[in-house]
């Protein structure tokens, strides 16, 4: 079969309101104007079974080879390098999801079994990732192939199975992306990247899971490595950075203590004041006054 194409109108997709498109396509010739660059509204995965495809994803010029998976996020521009589809075989799937306004988190809808923490961690990986292609990712091909078989057979339990496979696809993509971005060899280097990310998003309420996933580690292994390397638990290390930044702001600006507390990631000025005093012996206002007197 050279083509398998499900759209919103297809009967097979009725039990899956969140799947907008599922397709398998094999073409032996160049298909002109069949892959024009446009803004993708939702999350899309393209898996290359065969061929050598030149695509533009979010401004990145990518060449995809068999076994590669392209991840296209909501709002990104995607299309063929010359708006055409080169000879090749691809799977794709488009999933309807929104973005939480507040924190830019993916909201996946009712079918989704991820916990809130997992959702945050997955969103963080997808959005902080700067390479849209996961290479050498045959499992993705197997998952999509199994999905197609399930759509076609419609045997008992197929709805659940397809949703399970979709979860698998998202989880494995996230894991591959993180280990692709981290060699799992050079801890100091990976850790400094993480530190930079934390500093750039200090007001975000980080969880250990979210930090761990950025270093391609499980939460336990991550906490152990961080403790070993820095002497601090991940959350205490984060408090260190928060207080250091707060000290800088207290010294350099006239901004209110509450403003500073929120900016560096404490959830209230009381929380900030207590932590600050416990560590330094001063309340933030005393510290500022003391410093100005010098």
């Amino acid at each position: 079969m050279n083509q398998y194409f499900l759209t919103k109108e297809s009967q097979e997709l009725v039990p899956f309101p969140h799947i907008l498109e599922f397709a398998f396509k094999k073409s032996n010739t160049v298909q002109f104007d069949s892959l024009k660059k446009n803004v993708s509204e939702f999350l899309r995965f393209y898996y290359v079974v065969d061929g050598r495809l030149s695509w533009v994803i979010d401004g990145n010029h990518c060449i995809l080879y068999p076994g590669d998976l392209a991840v296209i996020l909501p709002g990104q521009i995607f299309g063929g390098e010359r708006d055409l589809m080169e000879p090749g075989t691809v799977f794709w799937i488009e999933i309807q999801l929104g973005l939480e306004r507040q924190d830019g988190r993916l909201s996946l809808g009712k079918w989704c079994l991820f916990t809130e923490n997992e959702c945050r961690a997955i969103s963080r990986v997808l959005f902080s990732n700067n390479s849209p292609v996961v290479s050498k990712f045959r499992e993705a091909g197997n998952i999509l192939q199994t999905m197609q078989a399930e759509f076609q057979s419609q045997e008992i339990g197929f709805t659940t199975r397809i949703n399970q496979l979709l979860h698998d696809l998202i989880i494995l993509t996230t894991r591959h992306l993180t280990s692709q971005n981290s060699s799992r060899r050079d801890f100091p280097q990976s850790f400094i990247k993480l530190e930079q990310t934390l500093r750039d998003n200090l007001s975000h309420q980080w969880t250990v899971d979210e930090m761990a996933v950025l270093m391609a580690l499980g939460a336990t292994a991550f906490s152990e490595r961080v403790k070993n390397f820095t002497g601090f638990s991940p959350l205490n290390y984060l408090i260190n950075i928060r207080i250091s930044e707060a000290i800088k702001l207290l010294k350099q600006s006239d901004r209110s203590v509450t403003d500073i507390a929120l900016e560096v990631g404490f959830y209230s000025s009381q929380h900030f004041a207590t932590t600050f005093k416990k560590l330094t012996g001063y309340t933030p206002s005393e510290f500022r006054k003391n410093n100005n007197d010098n």
Partner: protein, 508 residues
């Protein structure tokens, strides 16, 4: 029971330790902070993060390990890495981050100063080799490249000065750290006017010079929040290098110590300044009239960690220790000399004795029979040849009969034995807990200040190093055959080092 706390403000971490008054180590703790490299050659640290890390670690350490065991803190003695520069404004607020010892941005300033007569004069008066690491050149860099920040600066501090100021309100710098700035005259222990003039600053832009035993008064708030007694004394202490030398028990003629951490050094202590005509050795002040002399290398543990990171087998994610242990085990299976494979470890340029920022790493003599284990062996041997070449330079000035070793990488038994064989001298070391010689040195300074010892000399004599590695003369002879080639290559490749450094510079 009284105890002494030592606080080391190191290159990448705060290390605190506690000792009872007999010198037994009661416990240690550490907290790390990052070094930021926002541009090539830039190495910076956040002074506030260092301060908070120090408070955090110290406070937890006291509350968890010291107070519950009934100890009362009698002295807190500081030490720190050398060569850092932190400009502050008129209100005492840091103007950006601190440049740390490894910051290399002032390399052109250093080359410039080395080429004029004043450079030679300043080496003789300040004891600091003319190099990008030296605060003299870093401040000159600021003047030349960031005139606004330079003009806004009311003072140029060391990181330790900043931390001590936070705690006490005083801007002070001890003789040891000051003697590594290239700005202090080591003969008079005053700021050197010629150096200040060259950097475009005056004495008022620098902290007050104080002896290592100087004790500024701790602010009440910190005393209370740390739970320290009213009569506790803060000692400004010395530099990590000087403390490590003292803590290794080196004080008499003929004794030298090798430190192998990320970087490394060979050092001696004496009453004499070693005036090296090629300006290869530093002379820092431990205290008035007592000099720590020697040479530093950029490429010690960091090079082995590089090798392990690139080529080791990581069975567990990020488990570098395990990976290094396996590599060292493999290296032990190869005969000394690595079957004719020689490694120049100059991955980060080199300081003593060749002082060539453009030097680069070289594997020399590779043949088809060499395996990974030979490369591991050659890597370790190369690091030790570089250390030996510093020792050899020192021996042009004095005889070394007794060698001690300290630092993470010196503590691997294979490395310690190789060091004994390369130097053809017994190497004494203390392995395991209580072996941190910077902390031991800081304890000895405190104990001397209290009056437990009459002098640092007497204090140093109490250091016990129970493990001795004896050299094997035949192995030494094998190493020397390779070292002769190593030594020639290090000099012979100078032009090619310059060329390749240029190419690498263009490519980045």
């Amino acid at each position: 029971m009284n105890c002494i706390i030592t606080v080391e403000i190191g290159t990448g971490a705060i290390r605190v330790a506690a000792f009872d008054l007999q010198g037994n180590m009661l416990g240690t703790s550490k907290g790390a902070y990052p070094t930021f490299h926002i541009k090539p050659d830039f190495s910076e640290q956040d002074p506030e993060q260092i301060f908070i890390t120090m408070l955090y670690i110290l406070k937890n350490f006291l509350n968890e390990k010291i107070y519950p065991n009934g100890y009362k803190v009698h002295r807190v003695c500081f030490s720190s890495a050398m060569h850092s520069v932190l400009p502050i404004d008129r209100k005492g607020v840091p103007l950006g981050k601190a440049m740390v010892w490894s910051d290399n941005r002032a390399k052109n300033e250093a080359a410039q100063l080395r080429s004029i007569e004043l450079g030679h004069l300043l080496y003789q008066t300040t004891g600091t080799p003319i190099h990008a690491m030296s605060p003299l050149n870093k401040i000159t860099w600021l003047k030349n490249n960031e005139p606004d920040r330079f003009n806004d600066s009311s003072k140029f501090l060391s990181i330790k000065t900043y931390i001590i100021h936070q705690l006490t309100g005083e801007y002070v710098i001890d003789f040891s750290v000051a003697s590594a700035t290239g700005l202090m005259n080591i003969h008079t222990t005053k700021w050197e006017p010629a150096a200040l003039k060259y950097a475009g600053i005056t004495e008022s832009s620098l902290p007050d010079l104080v002896p290592i035993f100087y004790s500024p008064k701790l602010k009440k708030e910190y005393q209370v929040s740390l739970g320290l007694p009213d009569d506790v004394k803060i000692l400004v202490g010395s530099s990590d290098g000087c403390m490590a030398t003292l803590g290794a028990g080196v004080y008499d003629d003929g004794k030298a110590t090798v430190t192998l951490e990320e970087s490394g050094a060979v050092r001696v202590i004496g009453k004499q300044i070693l005036q090296d005509k090629n300006e290869r050795l530093f002379n820092y002040l431990l205290t008035e009239g007592i000099y720590v002399s020697g040479g530093p290398t950029n490429n010690a543990g960091s090079v082995f960690e590089w090798f392990a990171t690139q080529f080791g087998d990581f069975k567990k994610a990020f488990d570098l220790e395990d990976c290094m242990d396996t590599l060292i085990f493999d290296a032990g299976k190869v005969r000394p000399g690595a079957e004719g494979l020689i490694f120049l470890p100059y991955l980060q340029g080199e300081r003593a004795p060749i002082w060539n920022a453009n030097a680069r790493g070289v594997y020399f003599g590779l043949n088809i029979k060499h395996e990974q284990k030979h490369m591991v062996r050659a890597t370790i041997e190369g690091i030790l040849y570089a250390i030996y070449s510093i020792g050899k330079t020192l021996q042009e000035h004095l005889a070394i009969t007794d060698l001690t070793a300290n630092g993470t990488f010196a503590s691997f038994p294979l490395w310690t034995q190789m060091m004994a064989d390369v130097f053809n001298k017994p190497v004494r070391i203390k392995q395991g807990p209580g072996a941190d010689s910077v902390a031991v040195g800081s304890f000895l300074v405190s104990a001397t200040e209290i009056g437990l010892y009459k002098s640092l000399d007497e204090a140093a004599a109490t250091v016990e190093l129970p493990d001795t590695y004896m050299p094997d003369t035949d192995v030494h002879a094998a190493y020397m055959k390779h070292f002769r080639i190593f030594e020639k290559l290090a000099v012979k490749l100078k032009d090619e080092f310059d060329d390749i450094a240029d190419l690498q510079h263009e490519n980045r």
